[in-house]
């Protein structure tokens, strides 16, 4: 039984949109309990592998490059923020986001290439979706399974976050 190790993971991230996961959790908490917003506290995260001009933990959903991502983080699935896990292949075409790098104060174009050829990784689900648009605007919609354009066909595993360049 695949259960949460499935599209559910990918889909539930969509539910967790808003400005952050905690924002969504607070709102869902209100909906579920009828109470005022639960005082959800951030989970302490170890900031690992951060560099001065590329700060943050790439295994964390709050890492700056993930501002418009919707998927499992490849950093938790055997890949890295720029490479796919073994045995999967990267979709050549995908959606992009413009994310602000707090390390150097610049905005970057980020390409969220999907890794394809194995079923859902199911780890480190992350859904931030800033600027997400309906799927008739494919380049700005993260609802689409971009593995459709890959050699491994439509079988989605996880998503990367690759710098394309500095946004003008």
């Amino acid at each position: 039984m695949a259960s949460f190790d499935t599209l559910l993971e990918r889909t539930t991230r969509k539910l967790a949109r808003k400005t952050s996961r905690r924002g969504f959790l607070a709102r869902l908490g209100v909906a579920l309990t009828g109470a005022a917003a639960l005082p959800l506290l951030p989970v302490m995260r170890q900031i690992a592998l951060a560099s001065e001009n590329d700060p943050g933990d790439p295994k964390s959903c709050e890492y700056w490059r993930y501002c418009a991502i919707d998927g499992f983080l490849c950093t938790c699935c055997g890949g890295t923020k720029t490479s796919c896990p073994p045995g999967t292949v990267m979709s050549p075409i995908t959606w992009v986001g413009t994310c602000h790098n707090p390390g150097d104060g610049k905005d970057y174009i980020i390409s969220y290439n999907d890794c394809c050829g194995k079923t859902y990784c199911g780890r480190c689900q992350c859904m931030r979706d800033e600027g997400d648009r309906p799927i008739y605007d494919p380049a700005n919609s993260n609802n689409i399974n971009w593995c459709a354009g890959s050699d491994a066909d439509i079988v989605y595993n996880c998503s990367t976050a690759i710098i394309v360049g500095v946004a003008d």
Binding site: T6, L7, L8, L25, G29, I154
Partner: protein
């Protein structure tokens, strides 16, 4: 001792009476082995198909909205498919994908036409293996009102439309649809596809004298501004009118009576005050329409523009003719999709989530920062309401792992 003996005698007599009483009942008869249920030829109108997108190899589950009982299941291939119930309620059409070795190997795409009474395929039609796969699969397929032609949205990422002749069980054509995709049926022989520039690309199929089907394509004027106020692909239909909600809460009512669909009316779901408070439509299936009465149902929540697919907390019911809001229904659970049955005593179905742990536990985990993934504590449900009053009737539990879409017969 005498007392004990007396008690023993009483107990023995009681046991004997019980045993002899049981002996008087007839034996249960032997029962047949190998029986499978058969459903009505036409799916009853208070039943609902729930697409469970929570497993790699997706399923659709059928429930009776009056009793909450599960009635059957379809296995629908890799990643939640496009599905639709035929107009006569006798068939379910599903666009399915299979790989020969599970998640790899040669790919085969089909349109499976399931018999509504046996839930077995009556027909399987091979189609190009190019269907669009996305989080929600609403409007990925659609049939003309005469039930003859089925359209399939393709994306490789090149965009095309497969047109399948259901009468002959063959692929009629694969048409280029640059920039256009989701399918909205309109009329006996027309399918509209929604385009990124705010227009429609419409396909009209006409049968020629020689029996061949001719395909005519036509564009339209833009009916919304995709930059300023994009519409959501989840739309509702009444006759030749399609209702699209925009990010900012405006209904774009499209007249689809011709092959040149156009904006007929634009009206607001919200007051100015509600718009300032950021009320907007919610979830994946955010609109529903009860055709006989013209009541329009909108799943609503408050949040910034990009929250347009977050769960809804209320359903607001409008008269689509007068544009007046009639009722606000507070939902039992956070809801991602709604649908309304087509009969005269309609049910409102709402697919969402309930908590499976006490509130105090969530609260404690929350304030200590240990909550983690909220979905660990949630279970999918489908709530059933009286669609005329909004009264909650029942909650159906065990509706798969992620019941993302609802289809009413």
């Amino acid at each position: 001792m005498k007392l004990n003996q007396r008690y023993s005698a009483i107990v023995a007599a009681f046991v004997l009476a019980l045993v002899s009483g049981q002996g008087a009942l007839a034996d249960l008869p032997p029962e047949d082995i190998g029986v499978s249920e058969v459903l009505p030829d036409e799916t009853p109108m208070h039943w609902v198909w729930v697409v469970d997108a929570g497993t790699s190899f997706s399923r659709a589950l059928l429930f009776d909205g009056d009793t909450g009982e599960m009635k059957g299941q379809l296995d629908t291939g890799y990643w939640s498919p496009g599905m639709t119930v035929s107009g006569d309620r006798k068939s379910i059409l599903v666009n399915e994908t299979y790989f020969s070795h599970g998640s790899r190997g040669p790919r085969e795409d089909i349109v499976a036409v399931y018999d509504a009474s046996t839930l077995t395929p009556r027909l399987e039609i091979p189609v190009p293996p190019r269907r669009m796969v996305a989080l929600t699969m609403q409007h990925m397929i659609g049939t003309t009102d005469d039930q003859r032609i089925l359209g399939i949205t393709n994306f490789t990422p090149m965009r095309t439309l497969s047109l399948v002749d259901l009468n002959t069980g063959t692929l009629l054509s694969e048409e280029d649809t640059p920039g256009c995709g989701q399918i909205y049926p309109a009329g006996d022989n027309r399918l509209m596809t929604l385009c990124g520039d705010g227009s429609f690309l419409t396909f009209t199929m006409r049968q020629e004298e020689d029996g061949q089907v001719a395909i005519h394509r036509s564009g339209s004027q833009a009916f919304f501004d995709p930059d300023e106020d994009p519409v959501i692909i989840s739309a509702a239909r009444r006759g030749n009118r399609w209702f699209f909600a925009s990010f900012n809460g405006y209904i774009h009512e499209v007249d689809a009576a011709t092959d040149q669909p156009m904006l007929a009316e634009k009206w607001s779901l919200l007051t100015d005050k509600e718009r300032r408070k950021e009320w907007r439509t919610s979830g994946y299936q955010s609109l529903a329409l009860h055709e006989p009465s013209g009541l329009l149902y909108a799943l609503m929540h408050r949040g910034a523009e990009e929250t347009y697919e977050e769960p809804g907390e209320e359903v607001w019911i409008y008269d689509s003719e007068t544009k007046a809001r009639l009722i606000k229904v507070e939902l039992e659970h956070p809801t991602v999709s709604i649908a309304v049955s087509r009969d005269a005593e309609p049910l409102l179905f709402a697919s969402g989530f309930k908590t499976i742990v006490p509130t105090w536990m969530l609260f404690t985990l929350g304030i200590t920062g240990q909550l983690g993934d909220i979905f660990t504590y949630l279970a999918p449900v489908v709530d059933v309401y009286d669609a005329r009053t909004g009264k909650h009737l029942r909650t159906i539990e065990g509706t798969g792992t992620f019941p993302i879409e609802l289809h009413v017969p």
